[in-house]
Subunit: 477 residues, 2 copies
């Protein structure tokens, strides 16, 4: 900080009526090694070449986008979406942008909010496992609404998605786990920066204006973990999407912010985290892309149950029928039973915390999406009977990410499956076909199978679309 | 937290893919003595009687409102307002609510944003000295917009203003100074809760829904001090006003949040502050009102200059004319010269950091508002000549809040003034007439003197107004 800037800050703070302490303390919290990451990221976002990455990275962006659309469409009628939309309607919004899975259109900032909420409502969206950030919600929700209004191309949207997720997750890497452990819901607190970066890119802001966009966003971290279990959890990516979009619109129109908003002693990072590993932001910037490490959930429940469901689905694929099963021996890490050992779940939500129910769903349906976790299915006599056949035991020698299943069939024969890494992990990513199947599970009940199929096609073709309007139109019931 | 709630939180966090650490750490940060302040404040806001306080408290609310309107009208044409409004226009907002000092109308959330920005743009708004919170910006900006749309009475608005400022400042008291020292701009970070509380009151939400409003707002603290000196500083109260208003609208429509969002281990207070003195929230709740401790700035510069300006204005009132002044001996605390010792300011902004310019303005005009801190006046020959006559010396025996001035006149006679507490301090509050004069200084250049006078009347009469629409109409140029 040069002397003039320092003086202005001190003098401004006189206006706060608290000058003496300010004058003494201003530099105390300073990390003298902080690189100018606000400027570095602003330059990166504004100048990195279109598709300046491998085909694999670009394809991961398409997968991220597809998965996000499916999750948002799937929750479009959830009561959280209804409540959010009712509040938005009180502003009499202009019909600028699409709410995925619904007929209404609202102003682009409100569309970013609602789509961000619905995409996270089922806790079924993507996960950047290094930081437990759900990257797409804040970034894609802002981008699609902005692209719909500005007429941006699909290619421009994908570029902005890759860069926005990169900014979001790099800032997450910089602060994780301290920031998350302190109680921040990292998806919202870093998502606002990813959203701002992405929208700055899509708006074509230059470095100076992109820095303002990041700066304005830096003043608006969203979300505490205490909200888990309430509608305010999915509100976090929605509010982050909205705030990031507005930050970019403000910057575009000349609204200024500190050019050191992210790294300064009393800027974002040092205020919300005691761990600030700047090299996580700057290392391999422009050559390593965090979207490469994005993962997608195959099952609508906690990941510790996923290996068990996966094993059951594999048995089903081998021809094992529920009616033929006499007994199931399940061995898992002790933590799995500690957390999801509910033997007699009474409704869909409780079913998500039952590894027994997870096994039953995997064997009966070969999948465990939001539809399979219904109250009806958890109470179905054949499902109850099947899950009661499961004898689970805790075995510390089995990894938390693994499951060992032996089924004894009616004829006395046995089948054994060992899952080392469940489908959906970084080691065994969901295939494109898996993602399409998940998409149908979410979207078919809302917009119908035919529209869902067409929408899947539109998502895969995004990079070649002149604009996003047909895709948005296709996401309406 | 009961066992079920605990289990839901743990199980939800499985979905984050990070269960083991979560299970071990969930209660680590817990303060077992945290009272249920979310519920306590929700009950308070929803059930405290209308005008359930003294006449003096009620009058302070009117003064707070009047001062806020003047500041917002005064900055209505500032470039920060232009930039913010240009961004808002990109949403094609419905013409629901007034932007003070301008002809445009926008949706109520955007009006809350813009009025919150303008009210703090000149750093000339109110100050709760115990916490350096500027209370009115976040609270009144949300309330006026909401009242205009809902047709609420002036009485209802004043009730909500008192309660919203009380919530905001009590939460500030709970966390100050730790929270501020860490780098949070406390006006935005507590303002969002004041705004939500006030809007919950104005909407007539019951305790349960008011708790959700506070809960949703608790996930959205706004503002870091690094932004001081940029437009993002006044953005903070604006964004807080907007977010608090939307939190109340969401809650009204059934959007849920944690009922322990403020006090839980991973809720608002313990995330953004290490000092959490809960008794500051609960002590004398409903009998002591923090709005009583609100102060208003008489001069548009840092408070360390205020005693000097005040002394000069007193000399002027005694009949001292600038042309008669031969020499001025000014004795102040060393800090005053350290911070505001600029002898030859070149423009209006630099003038704010010159105790010499401050003296000249006080003697020449009897006031030092935003209009007096113009580039023109700082360069006027008579003003330059006057400020050069001031010989300032540092005297550690003089308090930071005081100033000792001796003027030698052309005839050799001397006049002496000692100011112990400047006008605008808690010890010497601005009179109602002073506030009106300040209001004129801000509003006359924007809406004209006659409209400003009428608007002052409307502000004093707020408690008796059936609705706020005439007042809003009167704030347009």
């Amino acid at each position: 900080m040069d002397g003039t800037a320092m003086q202005i800050i001190i003098c401004r703070s006189i206006l706060e009526g608290r000058l003496p302490e300010m004058a003494r303390n201003t530099q105390v919290a300073a990390d003298p090694n902080a690189p100018p990451i606000t400027q570095i990221l602003a330059k990166y976002v504004s100048s990195h070449p279109s598709k300046g990455w491998s085909e694999a990275v670009d394809h991961e962006a398409s997968r991220t986008f597809l998965n996000w659309v499916g999750c948002a469409v799937g929750a479009a009628r959830h009561e959280a979406a209804q409540a959010a939309l009712a509040a938005v309607r009180m502003l009499e919004p202009a019909p600028q942008a699409t709410i995925l899975g619904r007929g209404e259109r609202v102003d682009m900032a409100s569309a970013a909010l609602v789509n961000g909420i619905t995409s996270h409502t089922f806790d079924f969206d993507d996960t950047h496992l290094k930081t437990v950030i759900h990257p797409a919600g804040p970034v894609a929700s802002a981008l699609l609404a902005l692209a719909e209004v500005t007429g941006a191309s699909g290619r421009a949207l994908l570029d902005a998605l890759v860069l926005g997720v990169d900014v979001e997750c790099r800032i997450g890497n910089m602060m994780y786990p301290d920031h998350y452990d302190r109680g921040w819901h990292i998806t919202g607190s870093t998502g606002v920066l990813g959203s701002a970066a992405a929208c700055a890119r899509l708006l074509g802001l230059d470095e100076r204006h992109a820095a303002w966009a990041l700066g304005i966003a830096a003043s608006q971290p969203v979300g505490m973990r205490e909200q888990f279990g309430t509608m305010t959890k999915p509100f976090h990516p929605g509010a982050a999407a909205r705030a990031g979009l507005m930050s970019a619109l403000l910057a575009k129109n000349g609204f200024t912010a500190s050019a050191r908003a992210l790294e300064a002693p009393r800027g974002y990072a040092q205020v919300v985290s005691t761990k600030c590993d700047w090299s996580e932001v700057t290392g391999e910037l422009g050559s390593r892309f965090e979207i490469s490490y994005n993962t997608y959930k195959p099952f609508a429940c906690g990941i510790v149950i996923h290996p068990t469901i996966d094993a059951a689905a594999q048995l089903r694929a081998q021809g094992v029928k529920p009616a033929e099963v006499r007994a199931v021996e399940l061995r898992v890490h002790p933590l799995v039973l500690e957390l999801t050992g509910k033997k007699e779940p009474q409704d869909g939500l409780q079913g998500k915390f039952s590894v027994y129910q997870g096994f039953a769903l995997g064997l009966a349906f070969g999948r465990a999406g939001e539809s399979e976790y219904s109250d009806e299915i958890v109470r179905r006599p054949d499902i109850v009977e099947l899950r009661r056949k499961v004898a689970a035991s805790a075995d510390p020698s089995i990894d938390e990410a693994a499951a060992d299943v032996t089924v004894t069939l009616a004829d006395g024969s046995k089948k054994h499956v060992f899952v080392e890494h469940a489908i959906g992990s970084l080691q065994r990513p969901m295939s494109d076909a898996d993602l399409e199947s998940k998409f149908h599970g979410l979207a078919d009940p809302v917009i119908g199978e035919a529209k869902a199929q067409a929408l899947i096609g539109a998502c895969w073709n995004l990079a070649r679309a002149a604009d996003v309007r047909a895709l948005c139109e296709g996401a309406r019931p």
